[in-house]
């Protein structure tokens, strides 16, 4: 049994390493920031960015096929690492560690078990702000992938597809090449025989390794 801890550790390590090659692009020219308005940080042709983020959400979970099934709330904490390729339209590769807590109790004296999971997903994003000429960057993203989950303190593993939808704003920081993003996010978990959907907030730190910050005037750098 003790030997079973190793594979999950390896999984995590491999997953982190898989993200590493894309970070090598940071050897491109350093970022340039400008002062000015807070909500206009991203330039056209941003090309590539990497982000780390934290998400907090409230999930509602149910077992649809069972009699007396109840929607019960669970809390989700997520730490994510993403690489983004593209500008106004683009793709993202995402890696997330999710921790879902126990639900509250139902009137039938049961609750839903929490779980920890490692999820990988592929996303598609569109900068609606730039596409529609808004004076700020407003981005929408949908992503889908899969997660390997485990009930805490057990060796019981399960698989599930995951989906996410997000709408986010970007906020300039005083540090060159760093941008904050705030998102409204809707995560979906689809394990066998149950379903979780939620809503939450996330905060991400976006690193733009090359000159990607649009000047406040709106001119290209």
């Amino acid at each position: 049994m003790r030997g079973q801890r190793l594979p999950l550790g390896l999984l995590l390590l491999l997953a982190v390493l898989a993200q590493a090659p894309a970070q090598g692009n940071s050897s491109l020219s350093p970022a340039t920031s400008t002062s000015g308005k807070w909500f206009t940080p991203l330039a056209d042709n941003a090309g590539f960015a990497t982000t780390v983020g934290y998400q907090f959400a409230v999930l509602a979970t149910i077992e649809p096929g069972r009699t007396d099934a109840a929607w019960l709330p669970q809390l989700l904490h997520r730490v994510s690492l993403s690489n983004r390729y593209g500008d106004q339209l683009g793709l993202s590769t995402n890696l997330a560690l999710n921790s879902v807590g126990l639900s509250l109790f139902s009137e039938y004296y049961y609750r839903y078990r929490g779980f920890d999971s490692l999820a990988g997903s592929l996303g598609f994003f569109a900068n609606i702000g730039q596409l529609t000429g808004l004076p700020f960057d407003l981005e929408a993203e949908i992503s889908g992938g899969a997660a390997l989950a485990m009930y805490p303190d057990t060796y019981m593993l399960f698989f599930m597809p995951v989906l996410d939808a997000a709408v986010r704003l970007f906020l300039r920081t005083p540090i060159d090449g760093l941008v904050l993003s705030f998102s409204l996010e809707a995560p979906f978990f689809l394990p066998a025989h149950s379903f979780s959907v939620g809503g939450g907030l996330s905060l991400r730190l976006v690193y733009l390794p090359v000159s990607r910050v649009r000047p406040a005037s709106g001119n290209q750098p």
């Binding site: 009930y151 060796y155 019981m156 399960f158 025989h193």
Partner: protein
């Protein structure tokens, strides 16, 4: 504790910053109260349900099990004390027909129904069985009076038992605990001193875990939906301690002894909410049995002495005990 200097009348108009801080404090208190009220809107846990407690000790054709009677009586007393409507059925009454009749009497029951069983178990390559006291040796594979996993889960579905909990202290009882949505990473035959699992390459273990989890998702059968706590894995034996022993669990099944202890040991209540759930009971019994019984027998020449409890892999976690 620091004294709080409440503002004098009129002080607020002067724009005292301390008053502003108190306003913030009041806001936080209001927020906290609101959260408490929201939490109270959800049902509060209360232990209530029906328990069927089987103790099969005096067998007609199998070896007697002296400790199962004591286990059943102790479990019945505990469940009754906890607020369960417990029905104790032992010895000549502990038959397959009686269990079926008891479940039938609970048809459509909307409360949790707990079935506890202490007795012999039996296994065939494709099926696991409980062995009631009137069970006979196999005759032409008819398995008279045995209760198979398929039978038991089938009765739960047939009688519309919506919230079934099975706690089985018998050999091979893990065969009644389907993984369902989950793949149990514990080998079916748990024995770290004999099984050379650590010699298996790590990537091979990762592959097996991933494949197992994916297959569980593809082919998950929700079955009766029962939450199952089993004393041992599908190929493992479950043990009881001789009454003459000086060990604390003398005269009891080892698994049941630790399960009974979970009702009062604060360590069992892992989330500190004052209740012990099926998941918490499983984790407690697994930990205790491994730390005490397995450790004691780790150097035994008989590898069958080592075993671990198992749990079904479903999402639900039922309340079992309320701690003092």
């Amino acid at each position: 504790m620091k004294a709080v200097n409440w503002p004098a009348p009129g002080q607020r108009a002067a724009g005292c910053s301390r008053v502003a801080r108190l306003d913030h404090l009041a806001g936080l208190v209001s927020l906290a109260l609101s959260l408490v009220l929201i939490a109270c809107a959800f049902p509060q846990p209360k232990i209530l349900g029906t328990a069927i407690v089987f103790g099969a000790s005096d067998y007609t054709l199998f070896k007697d099990l002296p400790a199962t009677m004591a286990d059943a009586i102790a479990m019945d007393a505990l469940l009754t004390e906890q607020g369960w409507d417990s029905r104790l059925i032992v010895n000549t009454e502990a038959t397959a027909a009686r269990l079926k009749a008891e479940l039938a009497s609970l048809t459509g029951n909307t409360q949790p129904v707990l079935f506890y069983y202490a007795g012999h178990g039996y296994i065939e390559p494709e099926e696991t069985f409980l062995v009631p006291v009137d069970a006979s040796p196999f005759v032409d594979n008819l398995r008279p009076n045995l209760i198979s996993s398929r039978d038991l889960h089938g009765w739960l579905v047939e009688y519309d038992i919506r919230h079934p909990i099975l706690i089985l202290d018998s050999c091979y009882s893990g065969g009644f605990a389907p993984g369902g949505v989950a793949y149990d990473g514990i080998p079916a035959d748990y024995n770290p001193w004999v099984t050379p699992s650590e010699d298996t390459p790590a990537f091979s273990q990762v592959g097996a875990l991933l494949a197992g989890a994916f297959q569980a998702w593809l082919g998950a059968d929700n079955g009766s939906g029962a939450v199952v706590l089993a004393a041992a894995g599908p190929p493992e034996l479950s043990w009881e301690e001789n009454t003459a022993s000086s060990l604390p669990y003398a005269g009891h099944g080892i698994f049941t002894w630790f399960l009974l202890a979970a009702a009062t040991d604060p360590l069992a209540d892992r989330d500190g909410d004052g209740f012990v759930s099926t998941v918490e009971a499983y984790l407690y019994t697994r930990t205790k049995l491994d730390e005490e019984w397995n450790k004691l027998h780790s150097r035994s020449s008989d590898p069958e002495l080592v075993y671990l409890p198992r749990q079904s892999g479903g999402l639900r976690d039922y309340l079992l005990f309320s701690q003092p």
